[in-house]
Amino acid sequence: MRRELSRLTAAGFFLMIGGCWSAAARADDTVAPGDLAAIQQVITSQEDAFQHDDSTKAFGYATPELQTMFGDATNFMSLVKRGYQPVYRPKSFTFNNAHPDGDSIVQEASVVGPDGLLHTAIYTMERQPDGTWRIAACQLIDRPSISS
């Protein structure tokens, strides 16, 4: 009887450890719904600012580090127009996967550019001391993706 109880206790212990491990693994590669909504709102707001050529507003969604590197909103907008046309003037914009990357969150999006071609935009989002999220990087990758 005692041996049976001991076996059950051990089984319960391993189940509990396994459960914790599973939860930890999920926590490692999923983004909390609140954070996901917040980062997608920031990206959507910047897209909206691009559509209205509101450089000051669009620049405001970049991290302070990026803002320092660009110097001002005019420089920022100038580089976006020159090198990021698919993000600056997308025909369509669809969020795909998001995953944590250390303290950051990486959000992918399928973007159809003004020329009708499909690209993947990869945003790196960083949480600020005040709890808000800002865009730390945006990579534009030329590769097959999902079309809506």
């Binding site: 590197m69 100038s78 580089l79 090198g83 698919p86 009708g116 990869i122 990087a137 079309s147």
Partner: protein, 122 residues
Amino acid sequence: MSTTLTAAKPRRALPPLMSLTDAAADRLRSLYEKGQAGMLLRVAVGTKGCSGLSYDMNWVEAPGPGDELVTDKGVSVVVDRKATLFLIGTVMDYQVQALSSGFTFINPNEKGRCGCGESFHV
């Protein structure tokens, strides 16, 4: 919005993030085969110097999370994801001069450089 997996439309490639001159590719290939075997050159843009921004280069064993791997003329260079917007269209060169030799960057996004050439701004 529903998404469906469809064949990608015929696409023209985006402008290259970065390309290498023959001199830069030859020099890197030589370094990868000898002194820096097993390593990759990583390029980032940092904030320093009198003009604001500078090209930072270091050797890494593998691309970090989110880094981009640029391959041109059969040679690969790692690019920091935070540097991509500043580097689009940049040509990396290798210049041999009387007193110094090294990798240089011809960056169409640059608006100016400081007098000593150590830093640039966009």
